[in-house]
Symmetry: D2
Subunit: 391 residues, 4 copies
Amino acid sequence: MPIEASNDTGGHRRIRLGMVGGGQGAFIGAVHRIAARIDDQFELVAGALASDPVRAKASAKELGIADDRAYGSFEEMARAEAARADGIEAVSIVTPNHMHSPVAKAFLDAGIHVICDKPLTTTVAEAEELVALVRKTGRIFVVTHNYTGYPMVRQARAMIANGELGEIRLVKVEYLQDWLTEPLESTGQKQAAWRTDPARSGAGGCIGDIGTHAYNLACFVTGLALDELLAQLSTFVEGRRLDDDVQILLRWKGGAKGMLWASQVAVGNENGLTLRVYGSKGGLEWAQENPNHLWFTPYGRPKQLLTRGGAGTLADAARVSRIPSGHPEGYLEGFATIYAEAARAIRAAQAGQKPDPEVIFPTVEDGLAGVQFIDAAVKSATSKGAWVRMT
Amino acid sequence: MPIEASNDTGGHRRIRLGMVGGGQGAFIGAVHRIAARIDDQFELVAGALASDPVRAKASAKELGIADDRAYGSFEEMARAEAARADGIEAVSIVTPNHMHSPVAKAFLDAGIHVICDKPLTTTVAEAEELVALVRKTGRIFVVTHNYTGYPMVRQARAMIANGELGEIRLVKVEYLQDWLTEPLESTGQKQAAWRTDPARSGAGGCIGDIGTHAYNLACFVTGLALDELLAQLSTFVEGRRLDDDVQILLRWKGGAKGMLWASQVAVGNENGLTLRVYGSKGGLEWAQENPNHLWFTPYGRPKQLLTRGGAGTLADAARVSRIPSGHPEGYLEGFATIYAEAARAIRAAQAGQKPDPEVIFPTVEDGLAGVQFIDAAVKSATSKGAWVRMT
Amino acid sequence: MPIEASNDTGGHRRIRLGMVGGGQGAFIGAVHRIAARIDDQFELVAGALASDPVRAKASAKELGIADDRAYGSFEEMARAEAARADGIEAVSIVTPNHMHSPVAKAFLDAGIHVICDKPLTTTVAEAEELVALVRKTGRIFVVTHNYTGYPMVRQARAMIANGELGEIRLVKVEYLQDWLTEPLESTGQKQAAWRTDPARSGAGGCIGDIGTHAYNLACFVTGLALDELLAQLSTFVEGRRLDDDVQILLRWKGGAKGMLWASQVAVGNENGLTLRVYGSKGGLEWAQENPNHLWFTPYGRPKQLLTRGGAGTLADAARVSRIPSGHPEGYLEGFATIYAEAARAIRAAQAGQKPDPEVIFPTVEDGLAGVQFIDAAVKSATSKGAWVRMT
Amino acid sequence: MPIEASNDTGGHRRIRLGMVGGGQGAFIGAVHRIAARIDDQFELVAGALASDPVRAKASAKELGIADDRAYGSFEEMARAEAARADGIEAVSIVTPNHMHSPVAKAFLDAGIHVICDKPLTTTVAEAEELVALVRKTGRIFVVTHNYTGYPMVRQARAMIANGELGEIRLVKVEYLQDWLTEPLESTGQKQAAWRTDPARSGAGGCIGDIGTHAYNLACFVTGLALDELLAQLSTFVEGRRLDDDVQILLRWKGGAKGMLWASQVAVGNENGLTLRVYGSKGGLEWAQENPNHLWFTPYGRPKQLLTRGGAGTLADAARVSRIPSGHPEGYLEGFATIYAEAARAIRAAQAGQKPDPEVIFPTVEDGLAGVQFIDAAVKSATSKGAWVRMT
C-alpha cells in the first residue's frame, strides 16, 4: 500500500451530538450517524428521533441512547440538553424539510451548533431568518450538501480556482434518478410520501430534493454565482402533487451559460449526479456514481483521467481522502467529510477561533441560496418562458 | 465467427454517381465516396468537385474520373450528364450549405436523383421550394443525416415503435465537439472558415452544422414531432460571426419534454453525439463514439447492454449490419447504410415501384424540418425567453 | 431515496476491542479502526500499537486509548487484558506478517477472539498450528480477506451457488498494482520495506501481499477448491528480494481451469482486483475499483449490469448493503462488513450459540489455504514448469 | 470537422484482384471484399469462390464477376488468369485453413501476388515451404492479421519503439469469444463445422482461429520475440474435437513475461481482443471492441486516454486513419488498411521498387511464426507442464 490512511481524531475528545429525526423507517438519519462515526469526531448521546414519542424512544434504545436523553419532542430536547453540563454540543437535523426551520431555530437559540439536511427550509423567508439567527448567535451551521465532501469534487474546485480551465464558458449539471417513475407515494412508501407532499417538502419536489444538490455542486466547484434562470418543471406521474422533472437554462455572472437537469423519472438512473465544466483552456467531468475519477481535458492535449490519491492530486483533495488510490471511497466517506469539517469548525469555535481556512463546508448562506434557487425556478416555470433574475 | 456478413450488390449493376463539391481540401466529400463504395452499389463517374475549375479538374483526375466528365461548374455537369446515354443516375451534393439549393434544383430539373448533405438549405423558403420540386419531379432525394444509419439507432427506433419504453416522457440529445474552442477560422482552416461564415452556412453556426443532426436523431428515434422550443444561442469565441454553443428546451407533441445541447467549444469532446430517451416503462441511451452499444433500462429490471448483432437484435438493426457482434462498425459504415438505402430507393424508382417499406432514409421533408428548427431556434434566441412554436 | 439504510447496532452493547500494530505510520491499522466504527459494533479500548513502546504509547494517546491500556508489548497486553473484568473481548492484529502467528497465539491462549490481517502466517506449519489452536480454544478467528465483504461479491457467490452460471469452466482473477514499479523499498518507505523483506513477509512478496487476496476471492465466489497450480514468479526490479509479479495457471477440482495474475509493477494499475467467471450457462465479471457493479452475461441473452441494491439483488448482497443503489459504497464499507460479521459471530459465541448461517467471514482455515497457496506457488516457480498439487 | 479525410486512390489504376473461397455462406470473404473496396485500390474481377462449381458460379454472378472469370477450381483460375493479358495481379485466399497452402502455391507459381487469411497453413512444414516459395518468386505475400491495421495499434507500436514504456516487463494478451459455448458445430453451422474439424483447421482450434491473432498482435506491438511458452489447452464442450480454450504462459527474449488467453467459451465476450503492455516507465492498454481508444499510463503521471486522431497521435497512426477523432473507425477500416498497404507494396513491386519503409503488413514470415506458435502450444499442452522453446 503506497500511502498511509488517517483521519482519526488525533486525540481529541469526541463532540457530543444529538439528532432530531432519523428514527425507525428513515433513510438519511442512518447515513448521518455512520458519517458522524467514520472519523470518530462525534458521539451520539441524545435524540428526538421521531415525531411520535413512542417510536422516538424505541429508536433511541436501538441506538444506545440513554433513556433520559431520548426525547419526545425537539423543543424538550433543546431545553433539556442546554441545561445539562454534559449537554450536546451539536445537533443533526434530519427531519422532513418543513421541520428544518423550527428545529434549527430552537437549537440555535439554545446555543447549540447545527448540522442540517437540505433544502434548508421550505420558504425563502424562513431561510433568511435562519441566516440572521446564525449571524446573531455565532453558532456553526452546516448544511449537508454532502457531495461537496468528495475528494475529486474538491480537486475540481481547486483546479478551477487555479485557472486550469481558463475562463469558464459552460456549466452543465445533471441529477437523474428513477425511483419516482411510478406513483410510489400512493403505496405508502414513507420517503416518497413526504417528498411529494407540498406541506412537508415545500413548493419544490424534485427540484428541492435533488435539484438543490445539483445547483450547490455547480456553484461549489465553479465558484460562479448565478445571474438568471429559466425553468420548465414537469410532473409526469398522474396525481403527483409536485414536480418530478426539472430542466433549467442557466446564465452565470461573468458570461458562462449552462443547463441543470434533475429528474426522478429518468428510468435506469439510480443516483446520476454529474457535472461538466468547460472553459477556454480545458474541461472537467465528474460523475457521482464513480466518484473517485475526474476527467481533465486540457485543450490540445490528451485527456487525463485523474484518480483520487493518484498523480496530480492537489492538497485540497488529499486532505479529505482516507485511503490510497484504487481503494474506492464512496458516498458515506464523502458525507463523513462534511462531519469532519464540521468538527473542526466547532472545535475552533469552542476555542474562540476562526476555523482554519482549509476547512470547507456548506454554510447557512449556501442553504439560503438553494431555497432562493427553488423559488426562482418555480416562479419561472409558472410564468411560462420567463427569465428570472437571482437576488 | 458466428454469423455471416453480406451487403454486396447481389448482382446489381452499380448506379452511376456524380459529385458536386468534395475536391481537394474538403472533408465530407471523401466520406461520401467511401460510403458509396462500401456496399458496392455506386460507381463515381462524373464530378464538379470544386468551384475553381482548375482544382475541379485536378481533383477529378485523382479520383479516376474521366477528363470529359470532370466539369468546371455544376450547371454544365447537370446539362451534360442529362444529355448522355450513360449519364449519371444520381448526384451527391457535398458543397458548403449555401450551394445545396441551387445545385439540387439543377439536378432535380435534369431528372437526376439527389443525395445531399445537411442542412438542406440556408433558408426555410429554399427548403420549401426543394420539397415542392421533389414532389413534382418524383426524384429520390436523400439528406445525409448519416447517424440514422447506425444499426443501434435503428434498434432504438424499432424498440420505441414497439412500445418497449411505454409513453415517452423525456428526450435528451447532445452533440458536443471542441474543435472551435479557439478562433480556428482566423487561421485560414478551410472547414472552420465556411462553417462560421453566415454567407455560406446560413443563420446558424453550431446549430446548423451539428444541432440539426442532433434534432434529426431525436425525431428519428422517438418518432415524435416537436411542438415548441426555447433557445439560448451563444458565441463564446470573440469575433466569431455565428453561434458556437446551443442550448434548447424542447416540448414535444404529446407531452414529452427535453433538451438539446450542441457545442463546438466543449473542450475534451470530439464528436459527442448522445441520445437518451426515457418513458413510463423504460429508457434507452446511445452514444455515437461507441455506436455498437445501446443501453436499455426497463423499469424494475436489470440494465441491459445491447450490442450490435448481439442477443435481442431486431430485424431493422440486423438488416443494416455487416459483420458479427464484437467487430465494431463505425462512422463510415453508418454513412454507407444511407447510400445503400438510397440505392434501393433509386432502383425501385427506376423500376417504377415504391421502395420496400423496410428501406429508411432521411428525406427532403426531414431536411426541411431541420431548416425550420434552425429558424425557430434563431428566432427564440433573438427574442430572449420566447417559446417558439414549430410550424 | 427508495430504500432504507441501517446497520446500526440494534441496541447491542459495543464489543471491547484491542489492536496490535497499527501505530503511527502504518496503513492498514487505520483502515481496521474505521471499519470497526462504521457499523458501531466495537469500541477500541486497548492497544499495543507499535513494536517501539514509546511510539506505541504516543499512538494510543492519539486514538483516545486510556494510558493504562496502552501497552508496550502484545504479551503484556494479552496478559493484562485477560485479567481485567472489562478486558477486551476481541483483538485486531495488523502487524507485519511474521508477527501474526505469535500474536494470535497469545490472544487465543488468553481466550480472546481474533481478527487478523492476511496472509495468516509466513509458514504453513504456523498456519496449521493456528488452525489447531482455534479448534481447541473455540474462539472466533476472522482473517480480513476484506474483498469478500463487498455486496456484489456476495451477490456473485450467491448467483453461482444458485446455478445461474451452470457448470463453472473458467475462473480468471487478477490483482494489479504499480506502486513497486521502482525500488521504493530503498527509499525508506515503510510499507515497501517490510513487504519486500523475506524476514517480515515470508517467502512470498507480491503473491503474499495481494496474490492471496486474489486466490481467496476466486475460491470464495466460485466455491471451488484448487487441485493443481503452475506458477512463474518474477522479480523485475533489480535488487528486490521477493517476487513483484506472479502468473499462475490453475486447475480446479471438477475440471474448471483458470489463471491468476498478480503484479505490483503493472504501471497504471492502482488496485486492480478483478474476477471473471464463465460457466456453461453464463458469466460474471467484477472489478474492485467500481465495486458496486457486477456484469452478468447469461448465454444467448443481453448482458446485464447488476448494481448494488438495484433490480435482481439477492438477500445475501442486500443484507450487507447500507445505502440505496447509485450511492457508491467503497472499500471501507466492504471492510466494515467483515467486522460486522465478526461481531455477530462473537455475540453468538458469547451466547454459547453458533452464528446464524447467513453470517459469512473468512476463517482460519481460509487463512491456512492462503498460506498453502503461497507455498505451492513458490515450489512450482522454483522447479521450473512443475504442476504442484494442493494438499 | 477539424481534419480532412482521404485515402482515395490518388489517381492510380485499380489493381485487378481475384478471390478463392468466400462464396455464399462464407463470412470472411465478404469482409475481404469490403476491405478491398474501402480505399478503392482493387477491383474484383475473377473468382473460384466455392469448392462446388455450381455454387462458385452463382456466387460470382452475385458479385458481378464476368462469367468467363468465374472458375470452378483454383487450379483452373491460376492457370487461366496467368494466361490473360488482363489477368489478376493479386489473389485473396479466404478458404478454410487446410486449403491455404495449395492455393497459395498455385498462385505464387503463376506469378500472382497473394493476400491470404490466417493461420497461414495447417503445418509448420507447409508454412516453411511457402516462405521459401515467396522468397524464390519475389511476390508480395500478405497475411491478414487484420488487427495490425487499427490506427491505435500502430500508435502503440510506435510509442513502444520510441521508448515511451521503457524496458518492457509484462505483455498480456487476451482474445475472448463465446460463440462456441454450446456444440454449435453439431447443428450444421458452417463456420463452426470447419473451425472445429482437425482436417480443415489443423491441430489447433481456438488457438489457430484466434490465438494466432492474439500472438501476432503482441509481437507486432511490442517488437519482442517469444523465447518459450507453456500451454494448457482445454476442450470444454463435450464431443468437440479441438481446443476451445487456451491459456499460455509466455517468456519473451530479453526478460519480459506474459500470458495469452484465448477462449471461445467465455460467455458474454463477443470479440474481446485486448492487449496490455507494461514497462519500466509506463503502460499501454488497448481493446479491440472500442479500437479508437488507447490508454497510456506513464509512471507517476496521470493516466491518458489517447484517441484516434486526437492529441498525441503519431504519424504511423495518422497515416492509416481516414476520418477525424470522435468519428469511430471500426473493424472493416482496420482490415482495409491491410489491403491499402498491400496495394502500395504491390505497386512498388510492379515498379521494381521496394515498398516505402512506412508501409507495414503481416508477412509470410509472420504467418510462419503463427503456425510455429500453434505447434509449440500443442506440444506443450500434450506434454503436461513442459516449457517449449520457440525455434
